[in-house]
């Protein structure tokens, strides 16, 4: 475990208020999900999961075909598709377009994909103003923090934190009632929507047969982002493509329920191309950025490519006993929880945070709630094996190898075994360096006063 990872975990565990905030928020989301997928609320839930898994598997196995079909249909409706291999290409594209169109203000709706490539920082570095408009994301942008949770980004902030942030950054009076805080944000952001030249959104789904970008949200900020400015840019990972609009009947039923326990989110937008002749409003230009940023690295392995089925509902975070203790910022990258633990090492390389695949009890709760049936524990095991293989290659696990060799030797030599048993019972070896490191995270069961061998020999 790296020192940074370790330190963040301990800070989170020691903060009682934060512990309560994480526990109650994830608990509430978890309970709502459970209710909404119960047999009386959604009788065909398991069948829908199986079908969603089959659709995602099929889409990924034919990914190039569906990307090209999607591209053709976007273009048939007057939009444009841009493929980008990394964050630098995305920001270059946005910067060029902003420059050509004379745009200096951009509004953004929530998108984990843009978090992945630090888009706001890149744009701001070049003098553009890029404003997050989802309430949670807006709070975090003002506080200069990254999302704590995939669906509830500001889960760790109390109303008092938000009041202080708004007072400092927006120069408004200290106000702690959530309704009033929301109204303050609404007022500031309403003007941004009307002034912005470009709206940037993510995408929950890309529909190949329609050339459509599907956005799911509750606040209305994604609708405003994609309606008010003259230009709409949707930025999505290449894995978001699904074959047909009709497949949404499966995915939409699962997504909102798994995320927040709603039957449908308040707004589901199905957007294809710029506004057409006769339509009164909507953007005049429509772009879809298809981002790789490491995704193609996951494709060769059949077992690992299932990580790309994820629809970012965060049900695995809410149910995970590890996430619910260590929280979102303990994770080394933008994706947290079980899905973060499998995506991060694959996108960034296992050496980015080798401790990550091990920060799980493999209890399987994540796989049980996953609406697209990703076998997260299995992928974690595969990644653990990769980390260990890399350590053997780089010879960084000498101590571990040595201790296993010693263990094998002790186990196969009865006299040594007896002596070792006596040592463990009578000498304080738990306090010795490497053993102490291990026991700092785990409880060693107390040793019995007498060994089985002793009892046996006295019979």
């Amino acid at each position: 475990m790296s020192a940074v990872f370790d330190k963040k975990i301990h800070q989170t565990l020691a903060d009682a208020n934060l512990q309560l905030a994480i526990y109650s928020a994830t608990g509430r989301l978890k309970d709502k999900r459970t209710e909404s997928v119960a047999a009386d609320a959604l009788p065909d839930y398991q069948e829908l999961r199986t079908h969603a898994n089959a659709l995602k598997k099929h889409a990924i196995e034919n990914l190039d075909h569906y990307l090209e079909e999607f591209e053709r249909n976007v273009e048939a409706h007057g939009g444009k598709v841009v493929y980008c291999k990394d964050g630098a290409e995305v920001s270059d594209f946005v910067l060029d377009l902003a420059k050509q169109r004379g745009v200096s203000l951009i509004v953004k709706s929530k998108s984990m994909t843009t978090e992945e490539v630090d888009l706001n920082e890149r744009l701001e570095h070049h003098g553009l103003e890029s404003v997050e408009t989802d309430l949670g994301e807006y709070i975090l942008q003002l506080a200069h923090e990254r999302p704590y949770h995939i669906v509830a980004p500001a889960l760790h902030k109390t109303r008092y934190d938000v009041a202080a942030i708004f007072e400092k950054e927006l120069h408004v009076s200290y106000e702690t009632v959530p309704e009033k805080l929301s109204q303050i944000a609404r007022g500031v952001l309403r003007q941004k929507f009307l002034d912005a030249g470009i709206g940037i959104s993510g995408a929950n789904f890309l529909v190949a047969d329609s050339g459509a970008v599907v956005l799911v949200e509750n606040e209305g900020n994604a609708r405003l982002t994609t309606t008010a400015p003259r230009i709409h840019i949707a930025i999505a990972g290449i894995e978001k493509v699904i074959p047909r609009a009709q497949d949404l009947a499966v995915f939409l039923k699962l997504l909102a329920r798994s995320a927040t326990g709603q039957a449908l989110s308040v707004y589901t937008s199905f957007l294809s191309g710029p506004r057409r002749a006769g339509e009164i409003d909507g953007p005049g230009e429509f772009y879809v950025v298809l981002l790789d940023n490491g995704r193609t690295k996951l494709l060769p392995s059949r077992a690992k490519r299932q990580s790309l089925y994820c629809i970012r509902c965060a049900a695995c975070l809410n149910t995970c006993p590890v996430y619910r203790k260590i929280g979102g910022h303990s994770f080394p990258w933008v994706y947290s929880g079980p899905i973060g633990a499998i995506i991060t090492p694959q996108f960034m390389g296992v050496s980015h945070e080798p401790g990550l695949p091990f920060a799980s009890s493999l209890c399987g709760a994540c796989a049980e709630v996953c609406p697209v049936k990703i076998d997260i524990p299995q992928v974690l095991l595969d990644l653990r094996s990769e980390v260990k293989k890399a350590e053997t290659r780089e010879k960084t696990n000498r101590l571990e190898k040595l201790s296993y060799r010693m263990f094998a030797w002790v186990m196969t030599h009865p006299r040594i075994y007896a002596w070792a048993g006596w040592m463990v019972r009578h000498a304080p070896i738990v306090k010795v360096g490497p053993v102490r490191a291990w026991t700092s995270q785990r409880d060693l069961p107390p040793m019995p006063r007498q060994s089985f061998r002793d009892i046996w020999s006295r019979r």
Binding site: A212, E219, A245, Y267, E279
Partner: protein, 211 residues
């Protein structure tokens, strides 16, 4: 920019060649409920109310007109160009503006009025959802910018649910650049999981079923 590079990487990784036809897709899964159409109005309105929306079941267009007139009394409103609103006599109620076809004019008006009035292309009974297609008859911002939204929906447009919608409209992109499903008032729970309505979109939604 990186189109060929990315597509090439994808094909190499999954073992496909350019232009190769896809493998057989899983079948479309639509389960259209075999419900009683007569019960849909009641189901729809009950769902909308469960989402904190207001509802009214109008027996006839004149009835809907009277309800909307009472709802907007003393306030300003903008009605969409939906023929059904004209049919109900809602578009020519006093205090209601209608007939906007210019983008700037629409933005200006939507930013200032108290209520946006629309019809809906469809409504989904089992989730309490309005389905709005962007057309010369319906603009996107009328159901989005004003703090309150009233939707007046003829009974025949109420479907059982999502599956029936996708059975009727297998590809909405052929008809419009934007189809939006609206399920209840705009909401957020981003501060301490406390539910707040009307954060960016309308905080009040009223569904009037007619017939």
């Amino acid at each position: 920019m990186s189109r060929e590079h990315i597509l090439h990487r994808v094909r190499t990784a999954i073992g496909r060649s350019a232009g190769q036809p896809p493998s057989a897709a899983p079948p479309v899964r639509l389960r259209v409920l075999n419900d009683d159409p007569a019960a849909r109005v009641a189901t729809l309105l009950a769902r909308v109310e469960a989402l904190a929306g207001k509802t009214y079941h109008a027996a006839a267009p004149e009835d809907a007109r009277a309800f909307v007139a009472a709802a907007i009394a003393g306030k300003t409103a903008l009605a969409s160009n939906a023929p059904f609103l004209a049919e109900c006599g809602i578009a020519n109620l006093p205090g209601v503006r209608t007939g906007i076809t210019d983008r700037e004019d629409l933005r200006e008006c939507c930013s200032t009025v108290d209520i946006g009035i629309t019809s809906a292309d469809y409504a989904l009974a089992d989730t309490g959802t309005l389905v709005m297609l962007s057309t010369p008859r319906e603009a996107r911002l009328i159901s989005l910018l004003p703090p309150a939204h009233i939707a007046v929906v003829p009974r025949g447009r109420i479907l059982s649910g999502l599956d029936e919608l996708f059975a009727i409209l297998p590809n909405a992109a052929e008809l419009t650049s934007s189809m939006v499903l609206i399920t209840g008032p705009s909401r957020t729970a981003d501060i301490e999981q406390i539910l707040v309505r009307g954060v960016h979109g309308p905080g009040e939604i009223t569904v009037v079923a007619v017939g």
